[in-house]
Amino acid sequence: MLTLLCPCCGVQADETELAPGGEAHLKRYGPGSTDDDFEGYLFMRENPRGVHFERWRHANGCGKWFLAARDTVTLEVYGTYSAQTTEPPEHIKEAITAKHPGWSWREFA
């Protein structure tokens, strides 16, 4: 039963007030993309033991989507941040580095 801080309304939301939305920072490939790119976009997902980036919606709340950086083993939350971004903000990356020096996730590190 996680709690996550919704960065849009400042509420420390209960897991039952949130809806999960899978992996964050996916890059959309549309018409004209190669089969490989499209397959990667549609199907290939990270399943890490450790640092992970996810999409969550404050569904029973302000209704906004946000992103969360989280450890899938310890369930530590490194931070939540705006969904209107294509990569994790520096302070999130630093929080992760403090616990997992040398971490990487897809193209981020």
């Binding site: 309304c9 509420v11 039952t16 007030e17 029973n60 709340g61 302000c62």
Partner: protein, 188 residues
């Protein structure tokens, strides 16, 4: 023309708290840039209250503005005043990217009064209902049991609960169960 009918025809229950379904109430969704001057004016002019801060319920004399999300407020007014208010807000926002929608009929509204309002709500919502967790005048958008709901406290003995119209019966059932006279918790 016939009279508007609230979902539960103003049903009432007395237990740990008194529960009254108080509709119909005028409710207008306003989406846009909440910092923009014309949008603030569109919301404050017909209600006569201040623009709310984040999570705030800014209310007075049966009118008000509830902060719903970073780009949405809910304007409260008398049901009969809705058409005029929608019109004036729409007029004030000509040329501004915003959305004004009458949602008065889409909701049910309950008033809870009595010393145990925090306790009754805390049986149904995972939110922190303590005075520190939910100060007076702060809107809490959360769930009550299995449906989304919003509520705020005007005083330590008065709360207003808003839910979707279709689940008015369900929410009344929840509130009645939670307000069973022999179920006081004594936590707050």
């Amino acid at each position: 023309m016939s009279e508007p009918v609230s979902p539960l025809m103003n049903a009432r229950y007395e237990g740990l708290v008194t529960i009254e379904e108080i509709g119909p109430m005028g409710m207008i969704t306003l989406r846009g840039d909440l910092a923009a001057t014309d949008l603030r004016r569109a919301a404050t002019a017909p209600t006569g209250v201040e623009m709310p801060q984040m999570r705030e319920a800014s209310t007075a004399d049966g009118k008000g503005i509830l902060w719903m999300s970073p780009d949405e407020v809910l304007v409260l007014c008398a049901y009969a005043d809705v058409p005029g208010t929608v019109q004036s807000m729409t007029d004030a926002l000509v040329g501004t990217h915003a959305l004004v929608a009458n949602v008065s009929d889409a909701r049910a509204v309950f008033r809870l009064t009595g010393a145990n309002v925090r306790e009754v709500l805390a049986k149904l919502s995972p939110a922190d209902l303590s005075p520190e967790g939910l100060p007076l005048g702060e809107v809490k958008r959360t769930r009550m049991a299995q449906v989304p709901a919003a509520f705020w406290l005007e005083s330590e003995e008065e709360a207003t609960v808003i839910c979707f119209r279709s689940v008015a019966d369900y929410v009344m059932g929840l509130l009645k169960t939670a307000a069973h006279p022999a179920s006081a918790v004594g936590f707050f």
